[in-house]
């Protein structure tokens, strides 16, 4: 067999995906339509030989780029996904937006929307495409990470995790977050996109000297300077770039611990 770095990552992710499904059955994959969660959905398809036996959840803040919605609908159909779109309708109608405070907006339109979806569908575990190299807080995560009924992440008292033996859900825990891509780097994701010939949203490719490196809401994510208008050029750029991936993401910046506070409340 080929035993490349990407093969090892892929095998590890598939193992994790199957472990979580074996334990919980009532699970969902969180798809933000970005490169990481698109890789995640692809890995889930591989783990189950093409047909994902559970829903794929998109948390729609209504502030996403038009390209995101188009891409979502196209591939949900092509890959025969059981797509659930979840919104915090009440907050959207009340006019929630980043002008009301970025922290509160993220909390209402993402975290609360996710809470509502979990309450409605009673998911026991969620797959998320987060990676350790994205942010120092995410580097502290476990592969199976419990959340309590208030969605809080008890980062000071995480369960032990050894030898691919993961946490089972205890009664007081609301759900578990499962992170199959935790050990991947940004560069690995792009090399995998290339190897597997995966589709990605156009917004990642440079136009007029700018591109998005990490995609969130159009109100809160800024482009980076780049000439990379193809996957090969992005891979080349990442090998030499000295700028961190989420440098364009507003919620990482407000103060040093914003991400920690958001995440402890249940943010992705």
């Amino acid at each position: 067999m080929s035993n490349s770095h990407l093969d090892k990552l892929e095998n590890q992710s598939i193992y994790i995906i199957r472990e979580a499904y074996s334990q919980f059955r009532n699970v969902a994959g969180l798809w933000s339509i970005g490169k990481d969660s698109t890789c995640l959905i692809w890995l889930i398809r591989k783990a189950f030989f093409g047909q994902i036996p559970f829903p794929v959840l998109h948390i729609d803040t209504t502030y996403k780029f038009e390209e995101i919605y188009q891409f979502r609908d196209k591939y949900a159909k092509e890959w025969n996904l059981n797509l659930i779109v979840a919104k915090n309708e009440e907050a959207v109608e009340a006019g929630m937006g980043p002008d009301k405070g970025k922290f509160e907006c993220c909390n209402q339109l993402k975290t609360v929307a996710l809470k509502q979806a979990i309450a409605k569908y009673k998911f026991k575990a969620l797959y998320l495409g987060i990676r350790r190299d994205e942010h120092g807080i995410r580097a502290k995560e476990r592969i199976f990470s419990p959340r309590d009924e208030d969605f809080e992440w008890d980062y000071k008292n995480q369960p032990p995790e050894l030898w691919d033996q993961y946490k089972t859900k205890a009664a007081q825990e609301e759900h578990l977050r499962v992170h199959p891509l935790l050990g991947w780097r940004e560069l690995d994701v792009w090399e995998y996109v290339k190897r597997e010939n995966l589709p990605v949203v156009d917004l990642y490719f440079a136009k007029n000297g700018k591109r998005l490196r990490s995609i969130g809401c159009k109100t809160c994510c800024g482009p980076v300077d780049s000439e990379a208008d193809s996957i090969d050029k992005i891979i080349e750029e990442l090998k030499t770039s000295r700028v961190s991936e989420r440098s364009g993401r507003a919620q990482d910046k407000e103060d040093a611990y914003t991400m920690q506070k958001l995440r402890s409340l249940g943010y992705m």
Partner: protein, 412 residues
């Protein structure tokens, strides 16, 4: 640079001996950090009235930065001119030993850091003993804070002797002892000008000498079933090959039932394949309609691992709730899972001194290790840890929490 040569190593040692600082300094001196990260660290350090705190690169939690300790393990990526690394930082405080074990269990090699002004301390001993239990024999020792010892060779030799003595008592053969000052960068990525007497490699050079763990392809087949999926009209038995090779047409035996059959097909999505080897996640279909389920172990007839309901093991207890011999626990070994109880606790050991606390004991407490005999409800297929690690180690689960890890010493 070969992409597949990635080494995962953990840094362990007593609290405040400088684990996070060493990693931060290594990243800084090798130009591995984005400028905005360095800016952020400088700003947060200045805001809290400190000089640039390299540990903040890893200690990302507010509580960690304010208290100057590492609470949970972190993994970061790093590359030298020779290969890629995953660096696993582990907390040194006694409170967070389970986080250190979580980090160490994922590593192939380890770096033990010792503050030369303090020498071998409680967590130095406990962490290195845990490494020894986890089967780690790929260890580099760095003696840190040489600046506080006036860069003295004599001082270095004294602590080296103390550390080497301890390590050999727990069967860790450490070859390299490196004098460093992590905070100033001496012998981290650059050779120190203040320690002419030291002729060995820098810390960075020493990493490139650590060996990547060998693959288990050349061993007899072990394929634990993870789950069974019905896809179209096929019943696909999914799992990861843990040792050896599985091939279409091969005669296989299924444990614990002992049934035999043939591999009808090896399945991978969108790939035509007839065989798979250790490390691959695949599915198989079988020739006869034998019933497989999660926890079954597929192996070769005549090369079966022993199946037993009595296991001798060394366990390390990681729960504040003591081990109660009367309580039923769950044991998980690869994908096998069953109820068990601890039949006898032959020796209870203090993991920081190796002192025997009791023989024929009734309990084991947090941070202690023990030699036990476990009686399982259903029999398990097991292997000597040194032959197939995946079937030679297990976790114990108490009230849905992993409370202990264990290494099988032999089936009894």
């Amino acid at each position: 640079m070969p992409q597949n040569d990635t080494l995962r190593f953990v840094i362990v040692g007593h609290v405040d001996h400088g684990k996070s600082t060493l990693i931060g300094r290594l990243l800084y001196d090798t130009d591995s950090l984005p400028p905005d990260k360095i800016e952020e660290i400088k700003k947060v350090s200045a805001d809290s009235g400190k000089q640039t705190e390299f540990a903040f690169l890893l200690d990302h939690l507010e509580e960690e930065r304010k208290q100057g300790i590492t609470i949970d393990t972190t993994q970061i990526f790093f590359k030298s001119s020779k290969r890629h690394y995953v660096i696993i930082d582990a907390p040194g405080h006694v409170e967070f030993v389970k986080n250190m074990i979580t980090g160490a269990s994922q590593a192939e090699a380890a770096v033990l850091i010792i503050d030369v002004s303090e020498g071998v301390k409680e967590q130095t001993r406990r962490h290195s003993y845990m490494l020894s239990l986890l089967g780690m024999n790929n260890v580099v020792v760095v003696l840190n804070k040489m600046d506080l010892a006036g860069f003295s060779q004599e001082h270095f030799e004294a602590v080296k002797k103390e550390a080497a003595g301890w390590l050999s008592s727990i069967n860790i053969a450490a070859e390299l002892f490196i004098p460093i000052s992590a905070i100033n960068g001496d012998n981290v990525a650059k050779k120190s000008e203040k320690m002419d007497w030291y002729k060995g490699p820098t810390f960075l050079e020493s990493l490139d000498t650590l060996r990547v763990r060998q693959s288990t392809e050349d061993k007899s087949l072990i394929f634990p079933i993870q789950d069974v999926y019905k896809v179209a009209d096929k019943r696909i038995n999914a799992g990861r090959v843990e040792a050896g090779i599985i091939r279409k047409g091969m005669d296989i035996k299924i444990l614990p039932s002992g049934q035999t059959t043939k591999v009808n097909s090896v399945e991978k999505y969108l790939e035509k394949t007839e065989e798979a080897s250790a490390g691959e996640c695949i599915g198989i279909t079988t020739a006869d309609s034998v019933f497989l389920e999660r926890g079954n172990i597929v192996c070769l007839p005549g090369k079966e691992p022993p199946v037993t309901d009595r296991i001798s093991a060394n366990i390390f207890w990681m729960s504040r709730q003591d081990l109660d011999k009367q309580q039923k626990l769950t044991i998980r070994c690869a994908t096998q899972e069953t109820i068990c109880r601890i039949d006898s606790i032959e020796r209870r050991i203090d993991s920081s001194t190796l002192a025997v606390i009791a023989e024929d004991a009734d309990t084991v407490k947090n941070l202690e290790t023990a030699e036990v005999i476990i009686k399982t409800k259903k029999p398990l297929a097991i292997k000597d840890f040194n032959v197939v690690r995946e079937l030679g180690r297990f976790v114990l689960v108490q009230n849905d929490n992993i409370c202990a890890g264990g290494i099988i010493t032999h089936s009894s």
